[in-house]
């Protein structure tokens, strides 16, 4: 099997006259925590949407384990081990935490559609086995006490954790996090860092977009900086911090705003 590499080559996505992603190339290696940063409106989320099949880029190629995934549907891409979270949390808010995480077990479940009509001993075993996997995620993300609580009534920070638990329930090879620290306080952000490291230690490659620069510098192994859809720099966090083009485009203004 080809290695767990995600390679974007010359990906371009246009909306009418606007080029949201312009000739972007980067490579995520197996086991990395890879960051994509850039100012607001730089096209970061659009890149994620192109990878996960929500958009189809007009040009370029998105290769995962040597296979072209550009043009596949979101569920086909999930089936290949790439799972994402959303910047604006998208949970099934009326449903409980456990049911939300159970949705991540959908593609792992062996049940056919007919088991929705008639259960069999095999389908009952499968059902139980998947709920047990949900229990693992509840424990991993320290959510056990909220198992039966509707997600809509939970604080923002916990909802973020539920969304990550749901994604991890799919047992992904590549986890894509869209601004996982958005809306979190410092304590929650620290917990998130630990969680991301723990996820990586399980052998999952992590690709993330983040605004919180301190967090990005601390958590990522490698970074790509984009602005106006174009790559302006890439390198390790140390290299990026020294790069004048990045400071010009992003770091300077961001620091002025925040601190």
């Amino acid at each position: 099997m080809a290695p767990n590499q995600l390679i974007l080559t010359d990906v371009t996505k246009r909306f009418g006259g606007l080029t949201a992603v312009d000739d972007l190339s980067f490579k995520v290696e197996d086991g990395q925590i890879y960051g994509i940063i850039g100012p607001n409106g730089a096209g970061k989320t659009t890149v994620f949407n192109c990878i996960t099949g929500i958009y189809k880029s007009e040009e370029g190629s998105v290769k995962w384990r040597g296979e072209e995934i550009r043009g596949m549907t979101p569920y086909q891409i999930v089936d290949r081990g790439i799972v994402r979270t959303f910047q604006t949390i998208r949970l099934f808010s009326q449903m409980s935490v456990a049911e939300n995480i159970m949705s991540g077990r959908h593609i792992k479940s062996k049940q056919g559609w007919w088991h929705g009509i008639v259960h069999t001993p095999a389908s009952r075993r499968d059902e139980l086995a998947n709920w047990q996997k949900v229990e693992e995620q509840l424990d991993f993300f320290n959510l056990a006490q909220f198992a039966a609580t509707p997600t809509g009534s939970l604080p923002y920070g916990i909802q973020r954790r539920v969304e990550m638990a749901r994604a991890m329930a799919v047992e992904p090879t590549l986890l894509i996090l869209d601004e996982p620290a958005a809306g979190l306080n410092d304590k929650e952000t620290m917990e998130l860092l630990q969680t991301i490291f723990k996820i990586r230690d399980k052998g999952v490659t992590v690709l993330l977009i983040e605004h919180d620069m301190d967090m990005v510098m601390e958590v990522t192994d490698y970074l790509t900086v984009i602005n106006f859809g174009k790559k302006i720099a890439d390198g390790t966090p140390e290299e990026i911090q020294k790069n004048p083009a990045v400071i010009e485009a992003y770091l300077g203004s961001e620091d002025d705003d925040d601190e």
Binding site: P74, V78, R90, Q111, G116
Partner: protein, 318 residues
């Protein structure tokens, strides 16, 4: 609440099992209608309530089942019981074929399309399509249902046949809730993009919902044909679809909600017969009031039915 449900369901079913023996023939007919329409409304709940697809053509599948039974019995001499498999499969197949090209449509567009299907169906049977539908008069003089030697010759027997169909439907609904397919419907209704992003092929499960809902409605159609020993086009008109749609919206996407909706719509008008002509007026206001006061229906779907071993601290229970 959970305790209430544990006792309420057996108690309700027990009452329904005894009920027809206490009723005269007119009320037995009302009770059978309640059972049949409950089954159709439950099938509509799979499509509309669980999957969130604005299907305004459920009477089409109901009618397709009834006509399948009627045509096979009256024109081809099949025993009534033998028509049951086809009366489920043909509507289910139509459900799948009709849903295929339309399930990607957004709510309002899907709604208009399904109205169109319903109208086409009624026009087709009224105009005696293929010379077997009996035109505007429909088909009458069907044989009584004969279930392995038991002749459903009187209303009481038909009632228990309808009751058995309702129980089977409730059993399927329960199985659906505790399955991957059933949960997928909830997920795709609540957030389609999120559902696809965790790997659900929403198109397949939407078509599944249509097929299953249509098959169950078709079976209800057979019961309907058995009750009246006849079928006619106006019973499956678009306005019937509106009623089934409204029952699920007003009652709520839950089994008690559907029963409540059917009771309000079909049984209350019989109880207050002198107000029968007012029933759309009253139901219209009930719809308006329910949607303002309880936008998810009088008795909405409840979630959080998860295995006990997952509930660690009861104080957080929903």
């Amino acid at each position: 609440m959970k305790k209430l449900q544990r006792f309420a369901y057996p108690a309700f079913l027990l009452v329904m099992a005894i009920l027809p023996n206490l009723l005269d023939s007119r009320w037995q007919a009302v009770a059978i209608t309640f059972l049949i329409f409950s089954v159709v409304a439950l099938s509509q709940d799979i499509i509309l309530g669980k999957s969130g697809m604005f299907n305004m053509g459920q009477a089409l599948f109901f009618g397709l089942g009834a006509y399948t039974t009627a045509i096979l019995n009256a024109k081809f001499g099949w025993p009534m019981l033998a028509t049951v498999p086809l009366a489920i499969l043909i509507p289910a197949l139509f459900g799948i074929l009709l849903a295929g090209p339309i399930v990607h449509l957004r709510g309002d567009y899907l709604l208009v399309t399904t109205i169109g299907f319903n109208i086409v169906f009624v026009q087709a049977v009224q105009n005696d399509l293929g010379g077997v539908t009996g035109g505007p008069n429909g088909i009458f003089g069907l044989d009584p249902m004969n279930i392995f030697g038991i002749q459903l010759a009187n209303q009481l027997a038909v009632y228990y046949f309808a009751f058995a169909v309702l129980l089977a439907t409730l059993w399927i609904m329960r199985n659906l809730e505790k399955s991957k397919a059933g949960r997928a419907l909830h997920y795709l209704r609540l957030d389609q993009l999120a559902a696809e992003s965790i790997g659900i092929n929403t198109r397949v499960f939407k078509i599944f919902a249509f097929g299953l809902g249509a098959g169950i409605a078709g079976l209800a159609g057979t019961v309907y044909a058995t009750q009246y020993a006849a079928v006619s086009p106006e019973a499956f008109d678009f306005i019937q679809s509106v009623l089934f749609f409204s029952i699920v919206i007003v009652g709520g996407s839950s089994i008690p909600g559907v029963f409540l909706g059917v009771f309000i719509m079909f049984v209350l008008p019989e109880i207050f017969r002198e107000f029968a002509t007012w029933r759309f007026f009253i139901f219209g206001f009930a719809m308006i009031a329910a949607m303002i006061l309880r936008p998810r229906g009088i008795w909405p779907a409840t979630f959080g039915k998860i295995p006990k071993f997952l509930i660690k601290e009861s104080n957080h229970g929903a």
